[in-house]
Symmetry: none
Subunit: 228 residues, 2 copies
């Protein structure tokens, strides 16, 4: 079930849209001003955000801009009647679609469906599309499988490479040993979890510089993480 955040200060409209969306089976949340709306959008992972342009405390444009610094949650901007300028700058600030008030609920529903579909397709494509991954001065070129620390090329074995890639594709997410095990060794692997530790050590030997803190942090009792 898709989750939709409604940021709208006109309570009646917010309530009405919420009801309609729930009726359609979406999971919704309403925030009545820009500040709490932005907070909710950052704290939580919504599939779509319906964002009013005119908001108290923090206007819609500003909410979109600040959200975009951290996240790519798709935004449908709700603007007052035909202000073309708003439209243009709305897109500039990271809206993915817009709808002009007053609108028929059916049109909104159609736009949400279209956006969800579009995002879905983009996501599928994008995952396999990123060509390189970076963490500080470490880079991985996926096509060539070349790993560099600064200018220096680092030779990794297959397992080492995949373990590092997994960690680097999840910067700031603590990954438990068994998660790493299924991601790198496969869901049906029957190796001891200790191999993860051993490979972390191999990686640390190859990528870290003596005296400096390791790029790969241990979170005792939980797993490993590369912290930005």
């Amino acid at each position: 079930m898709s989750r939709i955040l409604i940021i709208e200060d006109e309570k009646n409209l917010a309530r009405f849209v919420e009801l309609e969306l729930k009726h359609e089976g979406y999971d919704t949340q309403v925030e009545l001003n820009g500040r709490t709306g932005l907070q909710a959008a950052l704290d939580d992972n919504f599939d779509v955000i319906l964002l009013d342009l005119m908001l108290p405390e923090l206007n819609g444009m500003e909410v979109a801009r600040r959200l975009r610094e951290k996240k790519n949650t798709p935004i449908i901007m709700m603007t007052a009647r035909d202000s073309v300028i708003d439209r243009v700058s709305g897109f500039d600030h990271g809206a993915d679609d817009y709808i002009v008030k007053p609108f028929a609920i059916e049109e909104l529903l159609a736009r949400i469906r279209a956006l969800l579909r579009r995002i879905q397709i983009e996501n599928d494509q994008q995952k396999s599309n990123k060509k390189s991954v970076t963490f500080k001065d470490l880079t991985i070129e996926k096509d060539s499988r070349i790993v560099r620390r600064g200018d220096e090329v680092i030779n990794l074995t297959k397992r080492e490479y995949e373990l590092l890639l997994t960690l680097m594709e999840n910067v700031d997410v603590v990954l438990a040993r068994d998660v790493l095990l299924t991601k790198v060794w496969g869901y049906d692997s029957e190796v001891e979890t200790n191999v993860v530790d051993v490979y972390i050590r191999y990686l640390r030997n190859k990528i870290d510089r003596p005296g400096e803190n390791s790029y790969i942090q241990t979170v005792r009792g939980t797993g490993y993480v590369m912290r930005s």
Copy 2:
């Protein structure tokens, strides 16, 4: 078993719906007008209220509005087809879903199930789905497991972290020692309840500032709580 209140003046329809709901295993009660319906809804704790829009003595909109002043019992509004205009124009009545008469009983059942599920999920999820949790100037980022008091990062062990998270996901709820034990140490843990006290102390040492009141309050004879 879920309890459902049916507020509907057409006796045949009310009777039919009641029968079907009982057949599905719900516990039901019927009220035939708005006044007694509202009274019943206030007096008793139902899981869902089926509310007809057109009612004698007090119409559905008014029932919903007055109920909402006191309670958040989920409401499914039953509207006639031609009152669709009502919902579009300014309605602020506090329904959680609606169904248009005449409806197939299966649709009603599906909407009740969906609503019950939604409520359930909302209750749990608001806690566990968020990426971060906040209490005053304390924040927890769940992915990275980083805990901050203001700008300062606080290092917690696994147990400390889970205990704090549990307390912060239940702000203003007093949690008994044995509840904390099952939530943090697991339902089959066999440690003394005193370890909870010990860990509360560790947490206080790490998160409180000298001279200030502790963020974690003791409720003598009961347990601990973080009060907002």
